[in-house]
Amino acid sequence: MIRTPEYEQLPRKKLEELQLERLRAKVGELNDKVPFYHRAFKEQGVSPDDLKNISDITKLPFTSKLDFKDNYPLGLMAVPLEKVVRIHSSSGTTDKPTIAPYTQGDIDTWAEILARALTIAGVTKEDVLQNAFGYGLFTGGLGFHYGVERLGATVIPTSIGNTKRQLTLLQDLGTTVLACTPSYALIISEAAQEMGVDLRKTKLRLALCGAEPSSEQMRKDIEKRLGVQVLNDYGLTEAMGPGVSIECPYQCGMHVPEDNFLVEIIDPETGEQLPYGDEGELVITTLTKEACPVIRFRTRDITSLNPEPCKCGRTLVRMSRITGRTDDMLIVRGVNVFPSQIENVLLKVEGVEPYYMIVVDRTTAFSCSDIEIWVEVNEDIFSDEMNKMEDLGKRVRSEMNSVLGISTRVKLVEPKTIARSEGKTKRVVDRSDL
């Protein structure tokens, strides 16, 4: 089912007309109301009238997380505080958090975007969705919550944590859809195994995973463990929260509601816009947000875009899985390494559970001299023959070295050595922090 065919099946030309009209209005509004944008447009020598074609968006300046930091907490806001009905915030683990204000209009738009996203994923009014994204400042919990209610399905606001209760409610209330981070989906499947709950005997039929990078192999692993299809969603606090894109059951890229978000791919080094299909940094312009719109926000996420209409009938552009972040890239003795590559190798070596940690000896923010990969030994891969255990370590190491192109050390550690996280999983740890 398509909730809003007037947007989701719009021919590209018509869509671009709509985007241009909305972009021009938004740029004009920001130029008048937000001193930061007024200055930025002036410095770039661009005015709303210069936007004659959708490709003219490249004339506009970029914004980044740094601009949110410099204008902390609410310097980028385009409306007076009295119009704001809610404020969310990013976790801000490494820096000052990003503050995200919403008007009533934003809350309504967001709920509609999520209701549409859930429909894209095949969720209907009949479904019972257990929302195990964290409630509170994090956009994931409340974002999904309002979307499920808007759709008219049933939401169980379990939030994250208390995994035993999650499983009890999942069985007793007949949950059909589980929404959570991929790492929490793994925690739930582990707990189910420990409690002797066979998830295949429950009504669960679908899991929506997002808010954290994950690989295709991790998806397959979660699908196997939960016994249901897993669809990915993507979002970020600066753009709104969850709902920026989501997969349909064909699992061939995440659909972007382009009437609300204008997406581009750029070369992270030069800032040049790249053509469809090329991999690069995702840049988002919000077209309908009121309280805190963003123009050409650099997400630091690496992906590519596909404008071909999807088998599901939608013409919305599709984003490929996020393959890395421009800022979690490690440079090990001159070679670029993404944690996602390491995860893929671990999943490929048969039986190795995706609990791992990368211990680095940093020389600068990105560069490190050495990496050590800690892998948990679980029941499936344990053998009481020493040569088999040593062989496992060697196989992981040789596969790692051939894929990454650098030599690494692999350390097998006891079960539950690596901290389980209920929020965003931290995969890369400095040796000095151990």
Partner: protein, 55 residues
């Protein structure tokens, strides 16, 4: 008669043997025989216990 053996994966570092002995002690289980094989970083402990099923 068959004997059941418990094999445990441990890291080769100080304190791992004590950690396992403490678990057994709490449950009042004794060890009849113990063998440990070790490599540079890992080890495997093989135990035959007084109470096989509790172990």
């Amino acid at each position: 008669m068959g004997l059941k053996q418990v094999s445990i994966f441990v890291e080769n570092k100080a304190g791992r043997l004590v950690a396992i002995l403490e678990v057994l002690e709490k449950r009042g289980i004794s060890i009849r025989s113990l063998s440990v094989s070790d490599a540079a970083e890992i080890g495997i402990m093989r135990l035959i216990l007084t109470d096989v099923d509790a172990g």
